[in-house]
Each structure stands twice: as structure tokens, then as C-alpha cells.
Amino acid sequence: MPARTVLQQADITRALTRISHEILESNRGPDDLVILGIPTRGVLLATRIGAMLADISGTPVPTGSLDVTMYRDDLGRNPTRVPSPTQVPGGGIDGKTVVLVDDVLYSGRTIRAALDALGDIGRPGIVRLATLIDRGHRELPIRPDFVGKNLPSAQHERINVHLNEIDGDEFVTIEEAVA
């Protein structure tokens, strides 16, 4: 079965814009917000959201990246993963409202690892979760606060997120995984 496109570039931009508005709404403005993306594509999305938040609110919003590799519970079950840098903005995260950003929310295990990683670098006041795609099949009690698109899927299907910065094109597709 060929890959089916579920989001075009314009859809992605629209989804991120809406998420940005929702973040500002729920936080009652840009104060104390820190946007942390989960590598690789979550970092790109966090950067875009940070820029949108600054645009909308007129105030710069600190963004950064949070690597979760060392906190995963499946390190021994997959090929070795090389960690990515964690970059926390200068103001730190203590007492802040941290919005974690990832591209696809699936089992929830990555977010579990992210919460542990976050705990080792500081003590946020509030942690929220934003995701471009929520494809379901949660294995942990984790729920996103901001969702670009709910995409019901079967476990054997793959979801591919392409972003211009690293893929050279931009869309989200769903397809049968190669057996």
C-alpha cells in the first residue's frame, strides 16, 4: 500500500500556529514559558513554536532541547543510540512552565523518559506536552495538552514526519510498515 499523505506543509504550519495560540491561552501569556523539543524533529518543532509565540505575544520565549536517550527504558533492546545535546535556555527551568514538544506521540515511553530527564536538570513549576501527531496506542498514563492532529492508526502502520530543515520537504504520511 502506498504512503498516504495526511498533512501537507500548510497543514503543519496551521497546526503549529494553533498549538502556539493554545499554549498562550492556557498559560495566560508568554511569561515563564520554556519550550523544550525532544530530538530530533521535536527540537525543530519547538523552535518554530517558540518563534510563533514570540510573534504572537511580542515577547521572546526561551526554547531549547531535551535529550532523553540516557533515560530510555529500551536501551538494551535496540541498536545503540547516540545522544543528542540537551540545551537548556540560560534562565533554567526551575519554577517555569515547560512545554515539551515532540513530533509523534505513541506509547508515551519517550515522554516518561523526558519527565525523568527534566527532573535531573531542575524543578519546573508546570510541565505540559505538545505533539504534532497523536497516533494513540498509549502504554503509559500520559496525555498531551496540545495536539496538532489526532491520527488513529494501526500498530503495523508507520507514520513519517518530514520537515524542511532536515528532510528537504515537508509532510506527514502514513503507510504499511515493511514486514
Binding site: R77, V82, I121
Partner: protein, 346 residues
Amino acid sequence: MRHLLSTRDLTRDEAVAIMDVAEDMADVADREVRKLPALRNKTVVNLFFEDSTRTRISFEAAAKRLSADVINFSAKGSSVSKGESLKDTAQTLAAIGADAVVIRHGSSGAPRVLAGSGWIDAAVINAGDGTHEHPTQALLDAFTIRRRLHGSAARGRDLDGVRVVIVGDILHSRVARSNVWLLTTLGATVELVAPATLLPIGIENWPVTVSYDLDTTLAGGPDVVMMLRIQSERMHAAFFPTAREYSREWGLTDERFSGLRADSMVMHPGPMNRGLEISARAADSAQSTVLDQVANGVSIRMAVLYLALSGEQDNTATGTAPAHAHAESARTAAAQSEPSAHTEGR
């Protein structure tokens, strides 16, 4: 990476990857919580057939920062003169359930024998074997050079064009060997300086240049001057006549140090004989990287332990290439093996 036995087996990309992971590990040292959970439930054994407190505590700190359980096994002084003891020790560690064995041994090749023996199915990390290799020392040296040269922009870079001079007892130095292979693999040029008695036969086939004259070599303006520790017992075996003569000819004296470029690095694997191979002024100068080397040693060893102990145990003898160098293949592998790893194409 299944084992780390020598730097000779490392490709440029593998070495750069190890150093890049070490950068991430170094970041952890600056945090409030200086521990990572990555090696929880893993057991690392420091198996030391020779005393080396420095290397042992460096590996111990590295393993503990990754949350591994650490067992220190000092085999020195026990009846470890016959090969069977290495076997017995290995089988004992296998029974204990060691996931990694960090081995320091007086005999060249002992880590390779252990890795290939079938006595134990653990990652073997060479922490110095005889006069053969000391790969983590070379990695930390390269890492130190890279950080000094490139600072926070070091990730992904090699040592292309860096000019390194290594001075001293090359013949007996595992540090020199590991550095020669690694630094040249990373694109550096290496010049060795020593009396002919302390250079191995066949050195003309190494990827280095050789000089007997330290002053001439230093006049060439090297980026890095690495001084090796000189063992006083070498004097009694006619390698050189006296410490005084050695120091005069091949020591980094105050005078030679003063002639160096202000940004030339002075390195030493430690412990130093101040006044013999290196003057106190040189050792304690801002150009000296000696303390950086110690701190970086922990980061490098964290990276090596992490790469050896995380991931599925493959059977690649010495390869270190992270299996997910290509995002696409990793994503496919992850999608097939475990749903939760789906989009983390790293």
C-alpha cells in the same frame, strides 16, 4: 561497539562519534544531578592486574555517573603469573554477571585474549595492556585537544591538520601507541622525539615522523607537545645514561617551554616526574592540559561504557559505529522492533 581493545581498529567516524557522546557526558558534569540512569542494572568490573589508581577511579566515576554497579577487582599480588589465572578470573566474573570488564594488565594483548576467549560474554574495555595500547587515554587526549581548539563547536570535528609532538619513551609507552594510531586517524600529524634507544625497531613504518632533536622539533611550532613519563628503571637498562642527561636532551625545561607558542598545548598522561621530563612551570602553566585531561577522562570513559553497554549486543569485534548513523535505517529498525521507539530516528 562490542569491545574497545585498541585505537588502531577505530575509524575516523567512530572516534568522532565517541568524542561527540563524551561532549554530552561532559555536559552532565555541569548539572545539579550529575548522574544518568543509562546503565542502571549493569555491572562494570574494574579488573586491575596492575596498580593504577588514576585510571581505576576514572572508570569508576564514569560507571557510577551512568548508574552502573561497580566492582573493583584488584588481581595484583595474587598468584597471577600463569595464564590460567586470567581464565579463572574471567570465569569468576562471568559467574558474577559482569556486563563489562575494564581490564588493566601488564601483558600486551591480554584484553584481546579475554575478549576472544569465550570465557566471559562481557564487553571488554582495555584500560592499558603492557606496552601495547591504552585507548581511552588516547581518546581523552584527542578529546582534550579538540575541546581546546574548538570549544563548544567541537562536535563532529576531527583533528585535521593539528601538529602533535610526542616526546619520551615511545618504546615502552602504550599511551604513545594509542595516540599515534588515533591522532593520525583523526587527521593530525604526529612527530615522535626520543633517543634511538627508546624508539621501537620498525618505527619508519609508522605513520609518523621521527626526530632525535627536541629543540629543532619545537622550533617548528607544534600545536601540542605531549610529554611521556620516563621510568627511572630505564636508566639501569642502558636506555640513557642519567636522568640529568635525559632531562637536558629531551625534557620540557623552562627554557624550551618559554620558546613555545603561547597557544601550544602541553600534555602529559600523568603521573608527572616534575623536573625530569617536564618542568614544574610547564606542568602548572595555563598551557598545560593536565587537569583537563583528568576531567575529560571521565567523560570519555562514560561515552565508551555507554556505547559498549547500551544497545543490543552484536558480535562486531571492535566496531564502534553507532548502528543508527543513518536516521532512515534506524527508524525502520525501530518501527519493526518496538512501537514506542517509532519516530525517534536517532
